[in-house]
Structures are given as C-alpha cells and as structure tokens.
Symmetry: C2
Subunit: 355 residues, 2 copies
C-alpha cells in the first residue's frame, strides 16, 4: 500500500502560500544535487537517529512508486509511522507537504473529517534511503493506515472524472489526459489503481499492468471481488459484502459521510487523489482514507465537483452490491463480521499474484 502515489509532477504550487516560512526555506525542495546536498545532513545526531528506526518497505502497497534499488518509495517503521520521501527537485513533495501543513492548521476542517478520513501528519523527518544508507532524505511522517492489520484487504481508487489540474503544464496535461482516457476515469469518475484481497489460501493481487487496463466491467467486477471469500472465482461470491460495505460503520456509511463533507467544503480541490479502502481479515474495522495530495488546489469557494461526482458514482455501485447481496436479516457489525467470518488460520503469507 502506498499512502500517497507519486506519479506525475506538479506545476507551481497553488498551496505553497500555506507553507510556514521555515518549511518553505528548506533547501531540499529546490535541490538539484541531492547527494552533495544530503552530505550536509550527515551529523552524528542523524546517524544515531537512523539506528533508532528500523525501516522497511510496506508489504501491502498496491499502487504508486515502491521503494527499491534506484527507486525512492515509502517506508514504514513497524510502530505506526509511514514515511513518504520528499525527493529533491520534485515539486510534488513540496506540494504535498504544503497541503498537509495547510490542512492540519485549517480550523474550518471539522475534526471528525480530519481524524476519520485523512492520515495523521507528524511533520517531516530526515531518514536514510534504502540501499543507499549514506544518502539521507527528508520524509513526510504520516500514520501507517494498515498498522496492526493482520491480513489487509486494500483497494486504491483514484478519484475524479479527470486527474489533470488547472495549473498543469501542457506536458503534464498531456500525460494525465492520456492516462485518464485510457482508463475508466472519464466514464466512471474514478479508476482502480490497485488492489489486494486475502483469501483462504493466500493473497490475491492482480498485477499493476492488468489493473491499468481495467474496463468499466472489470471495475464493477473488482468491487465485488474485493468483498469475496474467493475473489478469483467467477462470479465473485460477495460473501463479505454485507459485513464490509454495509453496517453503520461500514464502507458505504463512511463514503456517505465523506460525501456530505464534499457537498459543502470549498477549501480544497483534490486532483489525482485516491481513496484507500481497506478492511482486515484479521479483525480490524473497515476504513476509507484519502491519500496522495501532490495536486491539491485551493477550492476558492467552489466545491470539488470533480471528486464529488466520482464519489457519488462509487457510492452507487457499492450500494448496488449491497442490494444484491445483503442478507434479509439485516446489517451486522463489519468489525465482528469481517474478522471471525474468515478462518484466520488458513490465511497465510503466500502470494498469489494474477498477471
């Protein structure tokens, strides 16, 4: 799982005005020589901090850049923190930092919205890069949304009927436009960027290249597979639809609460932002979170109809699945049902990737 996908690049940040002077002046945001620049950070204090943090790549990343040799990606520390690198010379990181700083200091955002639908934000931290331990980079410190999940079932849904943003350069516009029209984005108002589902004999995780080509029919099918005990069988059984999508704390209820906020809020326009939808076969409750804020713009008194339209579209399809599969006896608690309903002992770490 990637809390913030790192595709695309931002033009001049419309949110940078929000950045405190101190953060705006951090040199890495404009650095063209990362290795040289980062040597400056290599103090004894930092070296000792590196030893304190046991960093690893997130196992359940379903979309976005992955940390690996030659590639910078997010890291987790196993203690509930998710670190997203702020790559030198890449304005997307600066833009995302500006968003978090603005969002967490804006009193017009209801506390319930912030805590329910956004990752926690703990500022920035200098950390070593995997495979290049001498290279130190600043990272966003975010809450690890899947911390303590045993068998996380995760879906990354990129929202909006368009992902390009008003201030995009012509080159960026072309790139985003192409990705949009080759996906379900204009048709559905959203696209699936990745997913994984645990089942009795392991993990079902369609390959990214396949997900990228998903048609409208594939997306409809995926929303059913996501709540199935046997997701790779046709038709999907949707045995967990009621417990995951339904109920007073289920995914649908959360999506509807989010929708209410989007019908009213005119502070931010969330271009190219994803909904991370997750539940745990190990028992933790289902959750909906917004992630990836590299292209958030100021709302300027206008609602984010692009995100909201896609959200309504997603809600409609989730509702339909519930109507088709909800048991007549009524709704159950998703926390109780998503856990024990699945025989945990039979779910193992074996990966069963579908290409």
């Amino acid at each position: 799982m990637d809390h913030q996908s790192t595709t695309g690049s931002a033009s001049t940040s419309a949110l940078s005005d929000y950045l405190p002077r101190k953060i705006r002046s951090i040199n890495f945001l404009k650095s063209k020589a990362p290795k040289k620049r980062n040597k400056e950070f290599q103090s004894e204090k930092l070296k000792s901090r590196r030893r304190e943090v046991m960093l690893q790549r997130p196992e359940h990343q379903v979309a976005g850049h992955e940390a690996g040799s030659g590639t910078l990606g997010p890291l987790i520390d196993g203690s509930g923190n998710f670190y997203k690198p702020l790559n030198p010379g890449d304005e997307r990181g600066a833009h995302e930092l500006a968003f978090y700083t603005s969002f967490y200091s804006d009193t017009r955002v209801p506390h319930s919205i912030r805590s329910s639908f956004f990752p926690s934000f703990g500022g920035t931290r200098i950390l070593p890069v995997p495979d290049s331990p001498d290279l130190l980079l600043p990272h966003l410190v975010l809450g690890d949304l899947l911390h303590a999940y045993t068998y996380p079932c995760v879906m990354d849904v990129k929202m909006g009927a368009r992902t390009w943003y008003p201030s995009a350069s012509e080159k960026d516009f072309e790139k985003y436009w192409k990705k949009d029209v080759e996906s379900t984005t204009p048709l559905l108002g959203f696209r699936i960027s990745g997913l994984q589902v645990y089942h009795e004999s392991g993990r079902w995780k369609p390959h990214r290249d396949g997900v990228r080509k998903y048609t409208v029919t594939d997306v409809r099918q995926s929303l059913r597979q996501f709540v199935s005990k046997k997701p790779d069988e046709t038709p999907p059984d949707c045995a967990l639809a009621s417990s995951v999508y339904g109920g007073s704390n289920g995914i649908l209820a959360q999506l509807l609460e989010l929708k209410s906020w989007f019908e009213d809020q005119t502070l931010f326009h969330f271009y190219s932002t994803s909904l991370l939808i997750a539940y745990d076969k190990g028992g933790k409750a289902a959750q909906v979170k917004l992630i990836d804020f590299a292209h958030v713009m100021k709302g300027e008194g206008i609602i984010d109809h692009n995100f909201l339209g896609g959200l309504c579209s997603l809600i409609k399809w989730v509702s339909e699945i519930l109507t088709d599969f909800e048991p007549a006896v009524g709704l159950t608690d998703p926390k109780a049902a998503a856990g024990p309903a699945e025989p945990e002992a039979t779910v193992g770490p074996t990966e069963n990737e579908t290409h």
Copy 2:
C-alpha cells in the same frame, strides 16, 4: 427562452435504437434537399393545418438559436405548445427526438421526475418555417414552459464540467472543448448561457456575447442578480432570494429533489443539457426544467456524475445566497412572494438590454 439549445452537432446517435421504426424511417432525418423533400408534405390537409396555428417566435428566449430570416429556431403557438424544428440533415434533431421518445416510454423514470423536471412531449408536427411559409418542416411538439407567465425571469444554466460527449468526432470535440475551457464549465461544473430578469422599469437581459465571457465571479453575481429587484445595481439586493430560491417549493428544494434522482439514475447521461430556471414576477410558481437533449447518451448502468457534480456545485451557491439573505422569520411560499412582492403595474414591456 429556448427549450432546447441547438448548438453543436451529434455523431451517430447512441439513443437511436430507442426510436420506433415508424419515426426512424422518417425521411427528413437524413434529407439533404429540404426544399424538394418538403414539397411532398404540401397537401391541402397541411395547408389547412398551417392556418389553424398562429405561430410566433418565443419572446423570452435567453439562449440557443433564434428563429429569424435565414435561421431556423423554435416557435410557440400561444396555446402552451413550443415547437422545435427538426432541421433536415442535422442529426441533433433526430437525436433529441430519439431521447424524448425513449424517455417518455421508459417506465423506470418516475412519473414525478418526468412531470416536474421535463417539458411535456407531444410527438412531432409539420409546420411552416417563418419568412418561408412555403417551406414546411417537422417540429418537436413540447410544452411551452413559460406559457401564461406574465413577466418571466429566466436563466439557462448549461450543466456539467464538460459538454463534449464520448462519441463526439474530433472536430466536434475540439469545438465543445474550446467553448468549455473559455467558460466556467470546468471550474464550476456549469455555465450560464443566458438570463433575463424583469424589474420595476423593464427587462434586464445581458447581451449573449457578454454572458459568454462570464467568469466565476460573474456567475456568482448573476445568481444574485437573478433574484434581485434591481438586478443591474451593485451589489444586487437579493430581495427575492428567500421567496424564489427558498421555501418548500422553491428553486433549491427542486434542485435537491433533482439531485436525489441523479444520485440514483443510470439510464441517461445528459451532455450539453441545460437547466432552465424560471419564476414569474406575475405570480406563477418557480420551476426548474431540463432542456436540450441533442447529446444525451445511454447511461449503461453508470450515474451521470458529470451533470450531478455540476448540480451539487450550483446547489451550494444557491444555498449560500439563501444563508446570506434569508430572513430570520422563516421561509415563505415562493408562489405568493414572487408575485405580489413586485408591483406588477410598474413592470412594462420596455427592453433594457445590457451589452
């Protein structure tokens, strides 16, 4: 007022399957030689029908093509009918006829939605063209939405964050795209195509060329001017906001009812369709109607998030005006308030166009 704006042209109609065989076979839909073709209709029966109907150009058209010398536009008969020409060789007319035929025969559309938000449809009728009485053309027979209005205040709001439709040719796409990005369409999810407001000394009707250039600020202002006793003064007084936008039968209540249907309906996607918002200084109730269906596509099980997003955006702004201007004493009946509140005797036919 124009019930169906006639800009743009449709590619192959995705709705034409809906057309009954009899209508599909009407030659005018494909005709390349209108004058010659229309001579076939000039029977004695038709000539006598022409004499029965006293046709005139609609006085309160605020957008779309107007009937005039060399131009075909809609006509009214003063008895509650609005006639929209089906121009030979123009597939938009065929497409709109296909929509009406499909829409009025689809039992999945609730009766209340059809009667509240759509013009009535009475099939087609052969009528003479103004200034060319020997030329006869088939017309859509629709309800005249402003019939019996004394002093109609009218606004045409073209809905959606885009007006181009999936099957548009490259040429059409370019045309629609250009109009969209030069307007508030992508930013607001709608644009104002035209408006008129009666006030104490006449009619305030901004010129079309000016309306075409409306910015976000202009649109916000127009929504206020529309419910003002002195619309051309700054700032607009919004004296009629409560009676027109508010109340259980007011514009906002109607927009919210329409929104509920759009959150659920997956039958149609209304590209380039307008909301006609109207009230009468002479006393008739406020109404919201959908008009212009030349580019409606099949919904294929997906909600019309493009229209819905814009609708939510419009609702937000109308709500804000109500919050700013609604009297603390509570809501009043728009029918009662929009009428007598305005001294009818002082409202005359004098036109006061603003360029």
